[in-house]
């Protein structure tokens, strides 16, 4: 809904007066194209080096990273959950059944209440992509990733990243995300943290305090 209020007109009038002109679509588009973009916009490393970089950067944020072949995902999921002593995890729709080991309870998110999410041990999701240089995983409201609350309220997040979905730089990631730019999107770089006390980054405030990543080929 857009409303033509007098305040809107007044603010636009002030801007045009300040700029001595009113802008239009063509002028804006042409001006935008003239912005110099001489920064790094493509990958420079070999794929293996890039994956190592992602692993290093995630570990530096206190995330645990496990490498796995496609056929051993369920096995590694089981190992992580045993080590973390997690039994009941929420999963979004679209998670491959082959990823889920026996012996644990996976609760499909069909609109669980926040209280119900809070009572679960953790969440298992896939991911849209990962950025090696910054150690970032991107989640969108898509199959296998789900709505934002499920990767937020539970205290433990086990996230699966496919090596095919790893890019090196932030610009590559934004280009990748462009066609789904209007979906609810979350960039996650390590577990919840704060530096508000004496500027020291410490793990764990309101989001999941533990982040495990399985990087599979």
């Amino acid at each position: 809904m857009t409303v033509e209020t007098s305040s809107k007109l007044e603010i636009l009038r002030r801007i045009r007066e300040a700029n001595h002109t009113s802008s239009g679509e063509e002028a804006a588009r042409n001006g935008w194209k003239a912005v110099p973009r001489n920064y790094k916009r493509a990958r420079v490393h070999q794929k293996e080096v890039m994956l190592d970089l992602l692993e290093d950067r995630l570990q530096e944020y206190d995330a645990t990273v496990i490498r796995s072949g496609r056929d051993h995902i369920a096995h590694h999921v089981a190992l992580r959950l045993e080590e973390r002593r997690k039994n009941r995890l929420v999963i979004p729709a679209g998670i491959s059944a082959g990823w889920l080991p026996a012996g644990f309870e996976f609760v499909l998110d069909d609109g669980l209440t926040f209280k119900e999410l809070d009572a679960l041990d953790g969440v298992l999701t896939g991911s849209a992509l990962a950025i090696a240089e910054t150690g970032t995983i991107v989640l969108q409201n898509l199959d296998g990733q789900g709505r934002r609350a499920i990767s937020l309220v539970p205290d433990y997040h086990l996230c699966l990243v496919c090596t095919e979905d790893v890019v090196e730089t932030v610009p590559e990631a934004m280009r990748w995300l462009q066609h789904t730019a209007t979906l609810a999107t979350t960039f996650i770089s390590g577990p919840s943290a704060t530096a508000d006390i004496e500027m020291t980054r410490i793990k764990g405030v309101h989001g999941p305090r533990t982040l495990d990543v399985i990087l599979y080929a």
Binding site: A18, Y39, A193
Partner: protein
């Protein structure tokens, strides 16, 4: 519950407030320590970016371009946000913004709101407005919670409680959360905040946020944070109200590729902060089903109209200039009498007040240029400071009373003297003669009379030489012949 807001209209002038801050050695230690840590971290992650200068260059151009087409981009944002189910409001000033937000909170049927840290809501003193209507705002950012529970004021743009150390924070939490056994490790304090706020996150139906970026192309909003409190406030309530300055616009989604590299490294010295959220209007079955954006002017178009200082609006609120500033690092943030402290505050605050208040802030700088060097979007803060000093002088000169102003008279006399060589030489001779009468210590002058005393208040002046450079030069020429 919250204390009196930092208000440039009523705050003491910077030199007075700074003197008080300089006496608080605990405050100085805390500010020194925190800014030192953050500067070291920043330097490390900036140094590993071979293309940092190219990113700054792009950042500067994107911001300048946005300001040149601000009317177009704001309307584009409004159309796209509305198409996605958001409702856009426009507020010319703080009062209008407060009225809109209070009205929207009431309409949401809630008498509590959960809040993400937002300097814009601090700027318009939103919490006081909510409280006066019996609506309780809960600050959920750890630093803002410390400020709110301690009835304190923010002293830094990114880390508002940077002036408090862990022991002081522990005392506040013990008292306000009734936790007798609380430890003072940062982990203990973070855990206390987690338990204290969890119930609120799960139950409060209305959230209030600021915004880091508004994306014109998509109508999306981006919030950058660390703790997950932001994600809680953006995701769990039924109604979300976002307040953003009109300067927060970015033309396209793709422009985030520049800002999301510049901002985290400059702000907290991290390659990327733990969480960035981007959402566009209302997403069915995911997050708030009612979403409002309030676009705030509150003096920003006035800054836009001043071509020499409009670059102030390019600021992305990283606070790198605060951490780098030798003045801020001595005084901390409160001395600036505004929620925007440090170098960016010294240029932003007086302009948001149409230069009527906070006139001492453009002088709260040694013009060393450290702020310019670290600014991720290359705002030339020293240049703007000098421009604003000139405006302060002009504005004061325009007032009738200033015809009798001693400083203005002195400056006029100096201009007359400097314009004529004979007069200039005579003045130099007189100055040397007068200087002989001044009290000295080992060749240093320690006291100057009247207005000149400002110089010797904090430092000594070297004794004047017997011969001026001009005399020496002339003598040298004669000798050569």
């Amino acid at each position: 519950m919250s204390g009196t807001a930092l208000d440039p209209k009523t705050a003491p002038a910077f030199p007075i407030a700074a003197r008080a801050a300089m006496k608080d050695s605990q405050l100085q230690r805390n500010v020194h320590h925190a800014t030192q840590v953050i500067q070291t971290k920043r330097a490390r992650v900036v140094a590993e970016m071979a293309d940092w200068q190219e990113l700054r260059e792009a950042g500067e151009h994107i911001r300048r371009h946005t300001m040149e087409h601000l009317d177009f981009y704001l309307q584009e944002f409004e159309v796209n946000c509305a198409r996605a189910g958001g409702i856009v409001h426009w507020a010319t000033d703080a009062e209008e913004a407060r009225q809109i937000v209070v009205g929207l909170v009431k309409a949401s049927g809630s008498d509590e709101v959960i809040k993400i840290k937002s300097m814009t809501t601090e700027e318009i003193a939103l919490n006081q407005a909510l409280e006066s209507e019996d609506i309780h705002p809960f600050e959920t950012d750890l630093a803002e919670l410390i400020i709110q529970l301690g009835r304190d004021q923010p002293s830094h743009i990114v880390v508002p409680a940077l002036h408090k150390n862990r022991k002081q924070i522990k005392e506040i939490f013990q008292r306000e959360m009734h936790l007798a056994d609380l430890g003072d490790r940062p982990e203990d304090l973070a855990d206390a905040a987690r338990s204290f706020l969890r119930e609120k996150f799960l139950h409060v139906r209305t959230g209030v946020s600021g915004a880091n970026f508004l994306i014109a192309e998509t109508g999306g909003v981006c919030v950058v944070e660390s703790e997950g409190n932001g994600r809680m406030c953006l995701t769990l309530p039924e109604t979300l109200i976002t307040i953003a300055g009109i300067d927060k616009i970015l033309p396209r989604f793709e422009d985030l590729e520049v800002m999301l590299q510049l901002l985290p490294r400059s702000a907290t010295g991290e390659r990327m902060n733990p969480y960035n959220s981007v959402w566009t209007g209302v997403h069915a079955g995911d997050g708030p089903q009612t979403f409002h954006v309030v676009l705030l002017d509150n003096g920003r178009t006035g800054i836009l109209a001043d071509w020499e200082s409009r670059q102030t609006l390019h600021c992305i609120r990283c606070a790198a200039c605060q951490n780098a500033c030798p003045v801020y690092r001595q005084t901390g943030g409160h001395a600036y009498g505004s929620v925007y402290a440090g170098p960016i505050g010294a240029i932003l605050t007086p302009q948001l007040q149409e230069m009527h208040y906070a006139q001492s802030l453009p002088y709260a700088s040694s013009l060393c240029g450290a702020c310019y060097e670290v600014c991720p979007v290359k705002i030339n803060i020293p240049e703007v400071l000098i421009h604003l000093r000139q405006k302060v002088v002009e504005q004061n000169a325009a007032q009738v009373s200033s015809s009798f102003d001693i400083e203005a008279l002195g400056m006029k006399a100096m201009a007359v003297t400097f314009r004529n060589e004979r007069r200039f030489r005579a003045a130099q001779r007189m100055g040397r003669a007068a200087a002989k009468l001044l009290p000295r210590k080992d060749g240093w002058i320690t006291w100057l009379p009247g207005m000149l005393g400002g110089w010797t208040q904090m430092r000594d002046l070297e004794e004047m030489p017997q011969e001026t450079f001009r005399d020496w030069w002339q003598k040298r020429e004669k000798d050569d012949r």
